[in-house]
Symmetry: C2
Subunit: 314 residues, 2 copies
């Protein structure tokens, strides 16, 4: 094999009830990553980054999420001497709360692993992807990387030990994700958060979380809807998203099961019990952003169950 091209999906982390522990993948948008042998030189390099618009991502391997993830994998396999060129084609906005850096890291390890004849399982690749994302985010956490890599709705019991579990997805569950053209840096989104929370709120949040997990396991969409409340993080972060209350109201009044901030924002997601409804809900959310003078993109999708897919290999 000389070249592998993969697609790594965007992800919605936190999911209202699972700050830092829950995430799910959607079908679009996402990143494309190409890994190609280069017999003329040694070591990994990033030869092309496209799709970043007027922003820039570093091409130095050790400063790029895809680069670090792939490099750590190659070192683990004792193949760091191999000449490999990596291309990163951003097909999604970054700083959007849709796990852009996680998608690049997840895509890079799958592309390189596949190029080498797939010596490691998909699950074994998680650690290296998380190391990659750590470059962008500064902390070791898998809530975006895990669903981008393996798909589905993933639960992380412990980021430290990467004890990750893929949860069942109720029939008919669809998601509308609206990305408004507002910029929020993850570190700013972290900075607005209080370091402590009220015990009484934590209890409500834990009731919601446990019920949400139960709803997934029992295919109970009404319970899922009653459970999708963020008592802790959303009230602190929504100030960073112009028009958030109206956007959420637009989603809920149209019949969404729940609506909250995707990851660190500014994207907003709504879960719905059908694709038709998700489309209508998403358009309502866009209209609400427009009324606040904010333009946006809408993505409607089922939960992506496959994670990174291999687009071509030759």
């Amino acid at each position: 094999m000389q070249e592998v091209r993969v697609f790594a999906p965007a992800t919605v982390a936190n999911v209202a009830v699972g700050f830092d522990i829950l995430g799910f993948a959607i079908n679009r948008p996402g990143d494309e990553i190409v890994a190609r042998f280069n017999p003329d030189r040694k070591g990994l390099r990033i030869t092309k980054i496209t799709g970043t618009g007027d922003k820039k991502l570093p091409t130095e391997v050790e400063q790029n999420t895809a680069g670090v993830a792939a490099q750590r994998l190659l070192e683990h396999l004792g193949k760091a001497e191999l000449g490999i060129d990596l291309e990163v084609h951003k097909r999604m906005p970054f700083g959007s709360g849709l796990g852009s850096s996680a998608a690049s890291a997840a895509g890079a390890v799958v592309a390189v692993n596949e190029l080498l004849g797939a010596p490691l399982s998909r699950e074994s690749l998680l650690y290296f992807s998380v190391l990659g994302e750590q470059v962008a985010d500064g902390s070791f956490h898998a809530d975006n990387v895990a669903p981008s890599l393996v798909g589905g709705i993933t639960l992380i019991r412990s980021n430290e030990s990467l004890d990750v579990h893929k949860l069942p997805v109720p029939d008919g569950l669809r998601v509308a994700v609206v990305h408004p053209e507002i910029e929020i840096l993850t570190r700013d989104a972290r900075a607005v958060l209080s370091k402590t929370i009220e015990l009484s709120l934590a209890i409500q949040q834990m009731g919601s979380l446990a019920s949400f997990i139960t709803a997934l396991h029992t295919n109970d969409l009404p319970l899922l809807g009653r459970s999708l409340h963020d008592y802790v993080i959303e009230p602190q972060r929504k100030q960073l998203i112009k028009g958030f209350d109206d956007v959420k109201e637009a989603a809920m009044s149209r019949g969404a099961l729940g609506c909250s901030i995707s990851g660190a924002g500014p994207s907003v997601f709504a879960l719905c019990d059908s694709g038709y409804l998700a489309q209508a809900v998403g358009q309502g959310m866009q209209d609400a952003f427009t009324a606040h003078g904010v333009s946006s993109q809408l993505y409607v999708s089922p939960i992506n169950q496959t994670g990174v897919t291999i687009l071509s290999s030759k």
Copy 2:
């Protein structure tokens, strides 16, 4: 029907990962409640309370958990004029962290409902039992009452709306509960708790909670074991239980899946993957208490799946 006698089981609330939202019932100990028509007078009264040792429980209906629970039910049914005598036979210690007041409240409503020909379903009785327990505890919460009433492991999404869910119980799950002769009042156990918790600890706790719920739904005892950690409450409350660290160490070193404080304490529970192990674990826990000069009782049980049972009716 003239007389109904019921048994209401003791319960373990909080369960390490679900402060105020999780609880389960065990087979023994528990309370016996008798409800009997008295044609010679009107209204409810409590005619006998036994098993309280050198402590006393109020016999005034409006000050007794069983009395209030039964009275509210009778008022709801428009039967408050009926002459009914209630007997409360405590077959369990109170102030033990085993849901003594909840068992009395749950038993009373089932006994009275049955005496009247069972006009209400078991689930419909929950509200009245919680009103009864509120007398003892001061707050409206169902984490002991729900499992005593309906059995199993129960999750409370919201105490306010009593959105309660009975969760699946993994095969082979057994519990050892050790009640040390230490007195802790629920209000004192509440008083030691900080009103706020660190966000970082809340995240770890939520990872454990979500994994515990998943373990129940997927019959995954190893995951259940990895999940049974209380990062928030146990560290604050264990100071009230002499020898707690050694008791927990005794449980874990013998192979318990997890060990923590039952309810507000002082009872300590351990979950195990067999009855033999639960017996050995429980004896080890007792030995550890003894080494600290604390005598104790041991109860080994599966999860009680039935809740309040009717012992006799005539």
